[in-house]
Assembly symmetry: C2
């Protein structure tokens, strides 16, 4: 990064639990973050609130808000933090920028009577389903699936885990590995092609199930021997 | 274990790479191990060789050999370490003991032109496929899938990782969690029902692929925050 500023990262649905946790952690790490929301006003409010949190610990974050379509139209690196139930529909309607990198973070899990149930997706993974609805000139990557929002959003906690990144474009994948590399206590791991999202989504479900089974809150993974 | 001896563990295909690594590690941990093979003679030879290794580091292991059918007929806790390509056919022919606990360790990966390819199994996982061919009065558990044979068999190396255990019988699963608990530097993790083998088999494939991609030899997993 040559001592320069880190790139701009947009977050579609950056006002949700997962999205705002990612926004906070990335802004803490020095990225300029554009928080997206269906409402530009709500996005601006959330950006303001997150910036206040970071200023309270002595940081000078660059956090702004915008409507989701504006985010994907103007930013070259965008995280999709849309809840699983809505991600396909949302992605279909967004005017993604040709050549941009879009990172799917979703996990196909539904909560039912206190249990976290993994949902079998026809394409094998949500990321692969997204591939079918996002224009071919947009680079899709899967990442951040196995890291709980709770610890991402708790800036006093070390992440102390791996972030698995998968994708079919090496260049796009490398830009996300580089992004993760700039987040403290997070180790980027190249998990292979886009279809590896099948593994990452199941791992994310397992982590959520372990939280419930062992009454912990932020189960996540680290590869030993790497 | 009340200071008494640890239970007897049988290993079907205990002369193979994975099986003999498991046999060595379990015998090192104090289990009495019966190494199985199609040939009783080869089983006895392997048991003798492994015992020699352990005696050379000052241990007094109890390692014997037997033909595979003899192992499953006489031992209450059996690990199946049959290569993926043969595990169904082998299991179909073995006279499993009613009420015994059988642990499937297999991983559906084939090596092709230097790549490790995950094989999609119709039932969702090899363990679930096995469930359909093993008698209902035998308790099937999936475990040890994500730990490389290389490090299991290197008794000078700390395992320093988690072993994920899945199964539909809590009692059977607990006996395998207890087994793992008695192996030094290994943490047992209850991964849920038998269908969680789908996740564990994919994780095992990912670990193998990471070995190839990062030129390491024993990638394996630990859950952080547990």
């Amino acid at each position: 990064m040559g001592g320069g500023k880190l790139p701009v990262v947009g977050i579609v649905s950056g006002t949700g639990r997962e999205g705002s946790a990612l926004a906070l952690r990335l802004a803490q790490s020095g990225f300029r973050v554009v928080v997206g929301s269906r409402s530009a006003e709500r996005a601006a409010e959330k950006a303001h609130d997150l910036a206040t949190v970071l200023r309270s610990v002595g940081l000078s974050p660059t956090l702004t808000g915008a409507a989701n379509p504006e985010v994907v139209r103007t930013v070259d690196l965008v995280l999709l933090s849309v809840p699983f139930a809505h991600v396909l529909e949302t992605a279909r309607q967004l005017p993604f920028r040709p050549g941009s990198v879009v990172v799917d973070t979703s996990v196909p899990v539904v909560f039912n009577a206190g249990k976290a149930e993994f949902v079998e997706v026809k394409a094998g993974s949500v990321t692969e389903e997204l591939r079918a609805v996002i224009p071919a000139d947009v680079n899709l990557v899967g990442a951040f699936k196995t890291i709980p929002a709770r610890i991402l959003g708790d800036i006093d906690s070390d992440l102390d885990c791996d972030v698995f990144v998968c994708g079919d474009s090496d260049e796009a994948k490398n830009s996300v590995l580089q992004l993760a590399h700039n987040v403290s206590d997070l180790r980027p791991v190249d998990a292979g092609p886009l279809s590896a999202a099948r593994t990452l989504e199941r791992m994310a479900a397992l982590a959520i199930q372990l939280n419930l089974r062992y009454r912990v809150k932020s189960a996540r993974f680290r590869v030993v021997g790497l």
